[in-house]
Amino acid sequence: MSEFFGSPHALLVLVLAGFLPNEIWRMAGLWFGAGVDEGSEVLVWVRAVATAILAGVIAQILVQPPGALAGVPDWLRYGAVAAGFAVFMLTRRSIFAGVVSGEIILLAGKWWLG
């Protein structure tokens, strides 16, 4: 069992750094939600910052790739994502078509490189 869950310390970090800082906003919505205007300016800013943080994480995975993705050349990683995005726009924003195209470019490029 200890191998399945890893160290108790890692689980504590999961609860303190992952579960609580995330869940607190859901529970805040449950407790204090009645008085907040959904279209207020603060929420526009919050959504912009949250979007930009997520964008930063996407960039981090592409620029400083983890594990097996690091074995793919930079230009192929960027090219695959750019191709996926182009197909997404061309198919009237189909996430499915975009993801599949990006993956095909990556696999074909890596296969072609040998």
């Binding site: 399945f4 869950f5 890893g6 890692a10 689980l11 970090v13 999961l14 609860v15 303190l16 750094a17 992952g18 579960f19 800082p21 995330n22 869940e23 607190i24 906003w25 859901r26 529970m27 805040a28 919505g29 449950l30 959904e38 526009v44 800013w45 919050v46 959504r47 912009a48 910052v49 949250a50 979007t51 930009a52 943080i53 997520l54 964008a55 930063g56 994480v57 996407i58 960039a59 981090q60 995975i61 620029v63 400083q64 983890p66 594990g67 097996a68 993705l69 994502v81 996926g84 995005f85 997404f88 924003r93 996430i95 975009g98 993801v99 990006g102 993956e103 990556l106 696999l107 296969w111």
Partner: protein
């Protein structure tokens, strides 16, 4: 909410009419909620995302139990990816917690806007705790689409079913992604890892409603590589808050110019 109407591609799960006696049973409502998971293409996107999260956790040296625990407890893809990639790249728990909590603020307006759909005059706050935990972008979108077809007094049971169904799908995907990253040749393992940035980039781009959202996405992508050269340990936060605030500033300025 125009985005919600175009998402369903196949409507195999036909819910009974609102006045049907079949809705009398909360257990049935739960089951219908659970089977509604099969009626949306978002389930497929979520599956791909969690394949990626499982693979990311494996390649960042977390245990399978740990990442399954994160899917169950955190239940928010962006927060899980931030948690795994910040901790995996050597950030402290405090730095990771700050990045996670800033990314999670967006859950607040989602909860605020969706809970009124489930409330009846008899609903107590504690009845909504589990449904609130399930709220993330997918459930939020699906609630707008599906809850109007469910009698009000069965909506909490229905949401519990929907939430449980999605969690089960994602737990399976997390396990699969983790095991595949361990066993597949590097070529396919790389392809699974690429699912995360692809699926998130495209689903975020799709959710962009205002100019501030589009700018935040573009600036956030562009700014991170620059800020990461500073090696501050909180690069994600600095680039995110800066890009997001610039995007908001442009929105504010345009609104003012229009007024």
């Amino acid at each position: 909410m125009p985005a919600t109407t175009q998402i369903s591609i196949w409507s195999s799960v036909a819910l009974p009419p609102l006045d049907s006696p079949q809705w009398k049973s909360p257990i049935r409502a739960f089951a219908w909620g659970m089977s509604s998971v099969a009626s949306t293409v978002l389930t497929l996107v979520l599956f791909a995302t969690y394949l990626g999260i499982g693979a990311l956790a494996h390649d960042s040296h977390f245990s399978l139990g740990w990442v399954l625990g994160s899917t169950l407890l955190v239940w928010a893809g962006p927060a899980q990816i931030i948690l795994i990639s910040t901790l995996g790249s050597g950030a402290t728990a405090v730095q990771a917690a700050i990045a996670v909590t800033v990314s999670a603020i967006r859950l607040f307006p989602m909860v605020v806007s969706v809970l009124p759909l489930m409330k009846t005059p008899k609903t107590r706050r504690r009845h909504l705790v589990l449904a609130t935990h399930f709220i993330a972008v997918t459930l939020w979108v699906e609630c707008y689409r599906l809850l109007p077809k469910v009698p009000r007094e069965r909506r909490i049971a229905f949401t519990h079913g929907l939430g449980c169904g999605l969690v089960i799908v994602c737990m399976v995907a997390t396990t699969l992604g983790y095991e595949l990253a361990a066993k597949l040749p590097p070529l396919f393992a790389a392809a699974i890892l690429l699912l995360t940035p692809l699926a998130f980039l495209l689903s975020t781009a799709r959710n962009c409603k205002q100019i501030s959202d589009v700018l935040a996405l573009v600036l956030g992508l562009a700014l991170f590589p620059l800020v990461s050269m500073l090696h501050t340990g909180v690069d994600i936060l600095i680039s995110g808050v800066t890009a997001g605030s610039i995007a908001y500033g442009v929105h504010w300025w345009r609104e003012r110019a229009r007024a």
